[in-house]
């Protein structure tokens, strides 16, 4: 709808108030952290958008050149603070790839369970904040109630509720306490009806559809050009998920699990879950689809966790111990991308023989996901800006590093 | 204190109508802003309305005398409705004038083009 409005140069508008330059953020309630967006608006219509980042820059990569790989782990959960476990996993796998060692089958199973639990938690925050930006406060409360239960489970394992530093390179310091998996199963069972409630309040809600369907349409080519990854890319109809198409050291974790990659292939979703119907106004690649892909991924993660728990309890091997503090890194470099909830999180470590890496580079998924914002928001109303921003689900810690 | 006790008659209303009318005329004459002139017109119309209603009101006349009856209120009603329509058109003209010359100053509107 707003695509052809932008193309036609004769934009007819009612009363031409002169243009206004409006700053949204950095402390704006709906910019997900410290992002400043400068809008050039004409009345209600946004003609130009310029995001400004860097307010949360902590030079994480430079610090990595002073610390050993194990000491640096706590910094990785501060990148995407809503999905700390996935960041730790990415860092751990990259170090293992550099050292050329593999962890035991049982550790890999535990890592799958914990990574998918954290993915559910991150997607819950995304769904809740999306509803909050569109004005409905209640789903935000529901999603955070569920997220608290997941965070309690994590607290049992590693004592922390947000910055876990649990999945160390080489293994984990201590396995989950007994009865943990039972509580995990109990959480999943009571979580099923909550998803249907969220569908009822948001996905199928006529007003939600009117506010998101057809808004901020990201064509597949533009998504690929801007390097968008994760739910943003899949919502544009590109069937690409690193858990299936990634490097062997990462995909072997998911061997033997039956699950599906969620992406609207020519407008249809893989129908293994009785999902609500796609509304007619929704165009592949719009805000509604980005939201819907995340909701279906939560269901896939639940399948993965249940299968993970079965395989973990069936396997009577041993959990590996992490590498020692000052392990010498070989001379050389390793780069690995993993499927974090927001998109593909890449870590590159260049070792020079000593225990401290010579250079570390972090490829952030949210940085690429936010870059098409000026394209998406041209000719859109002011009220749609937060909707598009929330659908991209960005975290500033990861963008500014 | 006689004003508070002696009943209100037609001439009191006519005096108030006259005051409003004169304020409207002066406002139209002296304001440089287009909308100021518009407000002057509104005041003039209200002055006239007040006289119509006063003449048509049965409360303000001695018992039995004949005023213009309901016609006063009827004409006042038409004046109110038409003033609304007139304000709509006047505002449209003012806004298009504002677009053309980026100002609402009446003195600047001296050339005939546009």
């Amino acid at each position: 709808m707003q695509a052809e409005r932008a193309k036609s140069d004769t934009v007819e508008f009612d009363v031409r108030t002169d243009e206004m330059l409006i700053n949204m953020g950095p402390q704006h309630p709906s910019t997900h952290g410290v992002l400043r967006v400068v809008l050039r608006t004409d009345g209600e219509v946004v003609s130009e958008v310029t995001p400004h980042i860097g307010y949360l820059h902590r030079s994480a990569e430079k610090i990595a050149e002073k610390l050993t790989v194990r000491q640096y782990l706590p910094f990785t959960d501060r990148l995407d603070y809503l999905a700390g476990m996935n960041m730790n996993l990415g860092w751990a796998l990259t170090v293992e790839k550099l050292l050329g060692q593999r962890v035991s089958e049982k550790t890999r199973r535990l890592r799958v369970i914990i990574a998918e639990l954290n993915r559910i938690a991150s997607h819950l925050v995304a769904a809740g904040c999306f509803g909050l930006d569109l004005g409905s406060f209640t789903p935000f409360m529901w999603t955070f109630r569920e997220r608290e239960k997941i965070v309690d489970l994590f607290e049992e394992i590693c004592g922390a509720r947000l910055t876990y530093s649990y999945l160390l390179p080489g293994g984990v310091t201590a396995g989950p306490p007994d009865g943990w998996f039972g509580r995990c199963e109990a959480f999943l069972d009571q979580f099923e009806p909550v998803i249907d409630e969220l569908h009822a309040v948001l996905t199928n809600n006529a007003i939600f559809i009117k506010r998101t369907a057809g808004i901020g349409v990201l064509p597949p080519e533009m998504a690929i050009d801007y390097g968008c990854t994760g739910p943003v890319l899949r919502a544009s109809g590109v069937d690409w998920d690193l858990r299936r198409d990634g490097e062997p050291i990462y995909t072997e974790m998911y061997d033997g699990y039956t699950w599906q990659v969620i992406a609207p292939i020519n407008g249809r979703y893989p129908d293994d879950h009785p999902y609500p119907p796609v509304p007619p106004e929704a165009v592949v690649g719009d805000s509604w689809h980005r939201f819907f892909v995340r909701m279906l991924e939560v269901v896939q993660s639940m399948y993965l966790i249940r299968q993970g728990i079965e395989k973990y309890s069936a396997d009577d091997g041993e959990l590996d111990k992490p590498i020692e503090i000052r392990k010498k890194l070989p001379k050389g470099e390793a780069y690995l991308e993993t499927e974090a909830p927001k998109g593909q999180m890449g870590f590159m470590i260049v070792g020079d023989g000593s225990a401290v890496p010579w250079r570390v580079r972090i490829r952030s998924s949210s940085f690429c996901n936010i870059s098409p914002l000026p394209e998406l928001c041209r000719g859109v109303l002011i009220a749609d800006m937060p909707a598009i921003l929330a659908s991209l689900d960005i975290v500033l810690g990861e963008i500014d590093r | 204190m006689s004003l508070f006790t002696e009943p209100i008659g037609l001439s009191h209303f006519l005096v108030v109508g006259a005051v409003l009318f004169v304020c409207g005329v002066i406002c139209m004459a002296t304001k440089r802003n287009v909308l100021g002139v518009l407000m002057g017109i509104e005041l003039v119309l209200n002055g006239a309305n007040l006289n119509f209603v006063a003449f048509g009101s049965s409360v303000l006349r001695p018992a039995g005398t004949e005023g213009i009856g309901m016609d006063g209120q009827m004409i006042a009603l038409f004046v109110i409705v038409l003033a609304a329509a007139e304000a709509a058109v006047a505002l449209a003209i003012a806004l298009s004038y504002y677009h053309a010359h980026a100002t609402v100053d009446v003195d600047r509107g001296d050339e005939l083009k546009g």
């Binding site: 209600e44 209640t138 007003i207 506010r211 800006m385 | -």
Partner: protein, 444 residues
């Protein structure tokens, strides 16, 4: 009241002024109480929807004293006036907005005859005064000087002005049905069982009720239509610069207007003070006195006459029941609005205006035409037609065509006067719903 004061020899004009001020204070108390209970209700209902408890500590288990506590806290807050603000307008705006809503309480009847000022054009006065509330908001938005509050004010003005039209039309539909704008008369016409309520009068008024609900929610800036305070886009709309006591007035204005709009809806469509089952009339608690009414009068009569009050106890108790009915319906309406607010996301400004102009106005105009035709064919409404089919359309047709025949040529002036008088007699007979006697006399 005034006589009481004169009896203790205060000067005549002082007595009247004091009496007037006391009545104003009482009315203001009603307005503030309705707003305060509205705030408490909002906290509790929204808490229940979000799986939490809501206020429980302040004032007993259910947090009754939360609204006064909020008021106290806000009064102590510092009143900041931004430098770029236009001082006088910035201060006046909240009071204008609250006065407009307060004026509505003047003409709002709580029970049969229990109204501050019984106006003949009551419904029209309510609509007129409800329209003034936007001035407070526009001035507040413009006077705060900041770009964002100007945006909020412009949006709010556009929304409330455009929603006044369908709201007015819904009220006109009911006025057309009842034939009078006097709110007390409208309420009394819906006495008896619940199917006498206007909402069940005919399918058109039923649809009009739902359009009224949409417009009411939109015109009091609630739920899916609360653009001006859209936190996510414009921080807090025109309320950004307001803090402390001034903000309380805007806040009170909003909740009082919520109560007013749902009360008006209850009065026009849901029978006002008449409950679903007419307990008062069944028990005889009405001015005509049934069994119990007479019995109560014999007991309470002497006590009341001794106190010097001139009121009929039975009818007074009946009215009391009526008032409870009315207030219960109003708060039901408020709960519905609160329920809407905490489940639905917000609409965009252009969607809000299109729902108004493309959906509400056409539908309610169609309903207006429908009710006109319906009340022409079925004067008593659906249930009257079902219960006495005999007096149904034939008499309506017969009455009009018999009077419109013109017999014999007369000079124009005479005919014009004749037409004038004939129109009047036709309308008078039509207005008295065609009792048989009149028709015979008409067609001789």
């Amino acid at each position: 009241m005034a006589e009481l004061l004169i009896s203790i020899s205060t000067p005549d004009w002082l007595a009247h002024i004091i009496a007037a001020l006391v009545q104003c204070a009482l009315l203001l108390a009603i307005a503030l109480c309705s707003a305060a209970v509205g705030i408490w209700l909002e906290r509790k209902v929204s808490a229940r929807i979000q799986d939490r408890l809501g206020p429980t500590r302040v004032g007993g288990r259910f947090g009754w004293l939360q609204p006064p506590a909020d008021g106290l806290k806000l009064i102590c807050k510092e009143d900041i006036i931004p430098a770029a603000a236009d001082h006088i307008l910035f201060r006046i705006a909240p009071y204008i907005s609250f006065c407009a809503v307060f004026c509505v309480f003047l003409a709002l009847p709580f029970a049969n005859g229990w109204v501050a000022v019984e106006l003949n054009a009551g419904a029209f006065f309510l609509l007129a005064v409800a329209g003034l509330e936007i001035f407070g908001v526009i001035l507040g938005g413009y006077a705060s000087g900041s770009k964002w509050s100007l945006y909020g004010a412009m949006r709010e003005a556009a929304q409330v002005v455009s929603y006044e039209i369908p709201l007015g039309l819904c009220v006109v539909v009911i006025i057309l049905l009842t034939g009078t704008m006097n709110l007390v008369a409208i309420g009394n016409q819906q006495a008896g069982w619940f199917f006498n309520w206007h909402i069940f009068h005919d399918p058109f008024t039923f649809v009009t009720f739902w359009v009224y609900v949409t417009c009411a929610v939109a015109s009091s800036n609630r739920a899916p239509f609360d653009l001006p305070e859209a936190e996510s886009e414009l921080v807090a709309g025109f309320l950004t610069e307001y803090s402390g006591f001034r903000w309380v007035f805007f806040f009170m204005g909003e909740y009082a207007s919520m109560f007013v709009v749902s009360a008006l809806g209850a009065l026009l469509f849901l029978g006002g003070w008449n409950g679903p089952v007419p307990i008062a009339s069944l028990l005889g608690l009405t001015p005509e006195h049934g069994a119990i009414g007479g019995w109560i009068n014999t007991i309470l009569g002497p006590i009341i006459s001794m106190l010097g009050l001139t009121l009929d106890p039975a009818a007074w108790i009946g009215n009391l029941l009526g008032m409870c009915n009315f207030i219960a319906k109003a708060f039901l309406g408020m709960t519905f609005m609160i329920w809407l607010r905490w489940t639905l996301p917000r609409l965009r400004i252009d969607q809000v205006i299109t729902t108004c102009l493309k959906y509400c106005v056409p539908i309610v105009s169609a309903m207006l035409a429908g009710v006109m035709l319906w009340s022409f064919f079925l004067p008593g409404g659906l249930f009257a037609a079902l219960t006495q089919p005999a007096s149904f359309p034939r008499s309506a047709w017969e009455r009009t065509d018999s009077t419109l025949r013109v017999d014999g040529p007369q000079d124009v002036g005479e005919m014009q006067e004749e037409a004038g008088t004939r129109n009047v007699t036709a309308l008078r007979s039509h207005a008295e719903h065609g009792n048989e006697g009149n028709i015979q006399e008409e067609s001789r």
